[in-house]
């Protein structure tokens, strides 16, 4: 893969996917930094290893399963304890469809 240079619009698109509200100065700085980091990452892009199976996890053959027994969940008051804006029975959020 040829070296990539991220444009401000591409950086904005990635920031949108990541739900990061970045200002123009951050977009400019991250564009520069990502371009340089991706240039380094690209050193593996050209390796002829398409037939090598990917490793997702170093412990992929291990399983540690507990008995399938019902147990109590987290009590509601505890679950809501750290919420920035709890209601009596849930998490209050700003309008979703606005």
């Amino acid at each position: 893969m040829a070296d990539v240079e991220l444009t401000p619009d591409e950086v904005r698109h990635v920031a949108t996917l990541a739900r990061l509200g970045l200002d123009d100065a951050e977009i400019e700085r991250l564009g520069r930094e990502l371009t340089s980091i991706l240039a380094h990452v690209n050193t593996i892009a050209a390796l002829p290893i398409a037939d090598v199976p990917p490793t997702k996890h170093s412990h992929e053959n291990a399983d540690s399963l507990r008995p399938d027994v019902a147990r109590p969940g987290v009590p509601r008051a505890e679950a809501l304890r750290n919420a920035p804006d709890p209601s009596a029975d849930g998490f209050r959020v700003p309008p979703i469809g606005a």
Binding site: L20, L34, A45, H57, S58, A98
Partner: protein, 485 residues
């Protein structure tokens, strides 16, 4: 003030004092709290200390009349959840967060009777190699306060080196136990993946990270690993250690073969680090080991693979911080703008950088080229280690290519910062264990030897470490910590 000198006090000796009745757990805890009050304003290694809670826990151990480790103090990296005690992960986005559960490793510490002295500083969400990326300010290296302690478990390293805890727990995702242990003259153990529960560890990169001990001696590392290494019903990737962890003693290396990947040492290693490393090879030969060349040809691609895989996992893990269930919220007119404003205000620059790399690498059109390709490299790195271990019992490398660098020196160059982990992160990609231990001084700063073994070889690594330790006779108390501080 108590009469107990905690500077350079190992956990094993602290246990001896307690069991001999020479001090109570409360007196020992008070001695550390006194030391913390004097030293921590200079070192800034603790994010949270609660003397009343600590003393109450110590008194409870005294009252219980426990044995073994009961009453020995400990410090926990602030990435580990502690029930009813603030846990920040070094981030503004978790300021004020009070976990409702203990991490499994903390619960096991409590069951063993360990007394928590507090929570230690770290790079935000464990992303960094210097502890400068903490939202709460950098930690200073007790060997030279103008330098970094390493990272991300820099606070856990500095508290032990400064005599502000006998030992601590850190986490290691790409070197975050071993490199700060190296920079601060300590022993650090990165366990085999899956031997220690990650339940309650605030997640950065799940396929890479493990919790492990940071200690003054190899025997202390074994003692603490005995406490934390166990199967857990709370972590489906955790199967515990294969063999019981033994307390090591020094012995000879007759019949053992150690591999050195010489090609990896050709560039970027400071002369002092290289000189100390060569001296340790001479020690190994004197003890009867055979030193042979091994090749890890894909290790040099470890940095690139790691900086795709770890950020990709991080971008997914950190999506949970959205201003809804816990932590910071910055309000907005709709939920989308609330998410974006909260995450912009709550995350620091390094975390944003990694979320952006990870999101990019996982986005449509790039997933195969970056993420899957990096996972193929991961396979080849694992095969390199498998091939090497077919012919050798362990692999020796420096832990880091440099000694501790000055605060601020690498902050503006992310790639230079990342490169400090070249000798540690292939080990995480392979999921195998490694022990880092002091290897003499280079220009007055600690140098470090890394012993890497096949999966589940912790007992071998600890035995080898104990033998090197006996030969080195390393004085782990920094000169600056003996005097006025």
């Amino acid at each position: 003030m108590t009469g107990i000198d905690v500077i350079g006090l190992t956990a094993e000796r602290a246990m001896g004092l307690l069991r001999a009745g020479e001090c109570t757990a409360e007196e020992l805890a008070q001695a550390y709290l006194d030391r913390i009050a004097v030293v921590d304003p200079e070192v800034h290694a603790y994010l949270h200390v609660d003397p009343e809670r600590t003393l109450a826990a110590a008194r409870a151990q005294d009252a219980a009349g426990g044995d073994a480790l009961s009453g020995v103090p400990i410090a926990y990296k602030d990435l580990l959840s502690t029930k009813d005690v603030p846990t920040t992960a070094g981030s503004r986005i978790l300021e004020g967060f009070i976990p409702i559960q203990d991490a499994d490793v903390v619960a096991r510490g409590n069951e063993a009777g360990l007394v928590s002295l507090g929570k230690t500083n770290l790079d935000e969400f464990a992303m960094g190699s210097s502890t400068e990326h903490s939202a709460y300010g950098p930690t200073h290296n007790p060997w030279d306060l103008t330098r970094v302690p390493g990272g991300s478990s820099g606070g856990s390293a500095a508290v032990v080196a400064a005599g502000c805890a006998p030992w601590s727990l850190g986490t290691d995702t790409g070197g975050s136990i071993r490199q700060p242990a190296a920079f601060c003259g300590l022993v650090g153990l990165m366990p085999t993946y899956g031997t220690v529960s990650r339940f309650g560890v605030i997640a950065f990169a799940c396929s890479l990270e493990q919790v492990g001990p940071m200690t003054l001696t190899v025997r202390d590392a074994a003692l603490l690993h005995q406490v934390i290494a166990a199967d857990s019903p709370n972590d489906a990737t955790c199967t515990g250690p294969r063999d019981a962890i033994e307390l090591p003693s020094a012995g000879r290396f007759d019949g053992l073969r150690f591999g050195v990947p010489w090609a990896e040492l050709e560039e970027g290693v400071e002369p002092g680090i290289r000189a100390r490393f060569d001296e340790s090879l001479a020690i190994a030969k004197n003890l009867g080991a055979e030193i042979v060349d091994v090749e890890l040809p894909y290790s040099r691609h470890g940095l690139a693979a790691y900086y795709v895989i770890a950020p990709a996992e991080a971008s997914a893990n950190l999506s949970r911080f959205d201003g809804v269930r816990y932590g910071l919220r910055v309000d907005g007119p709709d939920i989308r703008s609330m998410y974006e404003a909260t995450r912009d205000a709550g995350f620091g620059p390094e975390v944003k950088r990694r979320i952006m790399i990870g999101t990019y690498a996982l986005s449509a059109g790039y997933h195969d080229a970056y993420y899957v390709q990096a996972q193929r490299v991961r396979t080849l790195i694992r095969q390199d280690f498998d091939n090497a271990f077919a012919g050798v019992d362990a692999i020796l490398l420096p832990t880091a290519p440099t000694t501790a660098f000055p605060i601020g020196a690498r902050l503006d160059d992310p790639l230079a910062m990342y490169a400090n982990d070249i000798f540690t992160l292939p080990v995480n990609l392979a999921g195998i264990p490694a022990l880092s231990l002091p290897n003499g001084l280079s220009d007055g700063l600690p140098s470090s030897l890394q012993i890497i073994g096949p999966a589940y070889s912790e007992n071998l690594l600890l035995r080898l470490g104990a033998a090197f330790e006996a030969e080195h006779q390393f004085d782990f108390v920094p000169a600056a910590m003996r005097g006025g501080l």
